[in-house]
Symmetry: C2
Subunit: 355 residues, 2 copies
């Protein structure tokens, strides 16, 4: 395994669209969303550790999830955790983690990867990632893996690449925000638009150069701590300074400004498990297309439901179609699948009830 391969695993999200399974106390990435026996972060860690030394995988998350991470990834050393004392978007924590890696290994190439997505074909993922790593070892470029769209999804950002670029790794023309439906259809038909899955690859020199160029203030803030990174004084420095960083995503802060951005159209399947609907798509179904996770069921006149309990609870249903049925200790949700966008509103109502 190449000792220069590193990963920054993004594990600070809250996954509010999966309430009541995912909560601020116990977000999506720490759940076994598909009933495979492993949580999403365990799956993702396992996928990455086939490609690089385990100790080269940093886990970037909020301080409050430290215990959850160490519990679910028992072989991870506390030094591999990069803990945000405050909620910030992705740019500050990626810069901070990158500086820590650079101090250890200035030759490092790094993949930034979400911890709560689903990738079935781990072989293809490994191949795509190694190919990108090697490109970034040889080039001071920012790379991303783009997902070939299968329908006109309005929920994702898109990456437009140069249509005339015949190389495997293509020059990016621009990042595009979540489109409306006609625009998404146009993107789909153009065939040179990919979904932005939030997977980035670069060597540490290249990305730090971009931070210096496009976010000089943020770079100065975090560079001022270089002396103490990976020492016992690091925590105090971060607690003191982290909240001063701007709340901005890596996309806005760097990717959309840089000129040396490249994309590899991914050859693996991918699902962001971003909604109950996308989770339902990935789950195995019974003959009536019910997807059942962690439950025993007696279902009559019921189809296309997604049913999930915590243990192996018996769920008896008659006459429901296209419902999300989620049972937890403190919450039971019985909600139409096609209204999943309302769940965030329900979550707020629920929080008010508990006040």
């Amino acid at each position: 395994m190449n000792k220069n391969y590193y990963a920054i695993l993004m594990a600070g999200g809250v996954g509010s669209r999966f309430w009541p399974v995912s909560t601020a106390d116990f977000p999506k990435q720490f759940h076994d969303m598909l009933g495979t026996g492993e949580t999403l972060i365990q799956k993702t860690f396992g996928r990455l550790s086939k490609i690089m030394p385990k100790e080269n995988i940093l886990i970037l998350t909020n301080e409050c999830y430290k215990d959850l991470v160490l519990e679910q990834l028992p072989h991870v050393d506390a030094a591999q955790l990069v803990l945000e004392p405050d909620m910030r978007n992705t740019a500050p924590c990626i810069l901070y983690a990158t500086l820590k890696i650079q101090k250890i290994n200035p030759e490092a190439v790094v993949v930034v990867a979400p911890s709560d997505h689903w990738i079935e074909d781990e072989m293809q993922f490994a191949e795509n990632l190694r190919y990108s790593f090697d490109f970034c070892l040889a080039n001071d470029s920012l790379m991303t893996l783009g997902i070939i769209p299968t329908f006109a999804n309005t929920g994702y950002g898109y990456i437009e690449y140069d249509k005339l670029d015949t190389r495997a790794i293509k020059k990016v023309k621009q990042f595009r925000e979540k489109p409306d439906y006609p625009t998404a259809q146009k993107f789909l038909n153009s065939r040179n638009f990919l979904w932005n899955a939030g997977i980035f690859i670069w060597n540490v020199q290249a990305i730090l150069k971009c931070f210096q160029d496009f976010q000089p203030e943020m770079y100065a803030l975090f560079a001022s701590g270089i002396e103490v990174y990976n020492t016992s004084e690091e925590a105090a420095f971060v607690r003191e300074n982290y909240s001063k960083a701007e709340n901005i995503s890596i996309d806005y802060a760097v990717m959309e400004k840089a000129q040396n951005v490249f994309v590899l159209p991914a050859t693996f399947d991918w699902n962001d498990l971003g909604t109950w609907g996308s989770l339902y798509d990935k789950l195995p179904k019974d003959a009536q297309s019910n997807a059942i996770v962690n439950a025993q069921t007696i279902l009559e006149n019921s189809s296309n439901n997604i049913i999930r309990t915590q243990g192996k609870k018996l769920v008896v249903v008659d006459g429901l179609e296209d419902y999300i049925i989620v049972d937890k200790d403190d919450v039971l949700l019985i909600y139409p699948k096609n209204k999943e966008q309302d769940i965030k509103r329900i979550t707020n109502l629920a929080q008010q009830l508990n006040k």
Copy 2:
């Protein structure tokens, strides 16, 4: 309070139509079905103890519910429990309990009352019961309280009384089994038919005379134990002999054969809480006619449901009408109210799953 007033509280039923709330391990009478803060047996015991000394109330139940009874009725002495070692219908246990009472007090008048019904107007109940007790102190008659029917219910037995009898307490012509619908309508229109609520009143001499006359074998069986009743040897005698008794109801064994049967049309409301539907009728409802027991709720586009959890669980529902939603530790039931007669079948399926 009259020291001659006694009660036999019938608490051996299983309440299988209320699965999954009511189970063989924890039947209906031990649940707070209406969310009042008291279980049905506690309510019934409280109602009776306003009329008679607490120690005159015997609780007749299966051996396996002994701990539940003592837990829910902590002021009851173990000597007040009449425990059936085997499941038998009502005649054997009523005979056995009556003999025990007679041995203590040959002047006793006894009410036999189910422990799992609902009576709202406890004042009227007390008045009706005292009136019947006094009738039975003066007469060797078998009495029953009949419920004035409010609709052509095919789920109850009926009591036909002599239409020409102008007294408050009327001579019974005959007991009638659960009728078909046209017959129930005829009963309703005749105005001299009452629902049989299983509430009986008599003095111990009168009922024992009837057992002697109509069930001589059963009488001989239990009379052979008179020496040991209310002593330390009673348990051994009962374990030895109880299973020899015929499995027959008091209605068939005695009431339908006796000629000295009288009925008082009850002036209190009554509900046997026999089905989810009848329970729903008794529960308070929200503006959308949802009946909620032990739950917090966020209900949208949902009406006429009955929702019950064990704690104060939050239940979020969108788009359900006329459903039974019951959440327990090990079972979640989401079932149309108008299919409640299928719940027994579901219970059997569930038991097979757990084998």
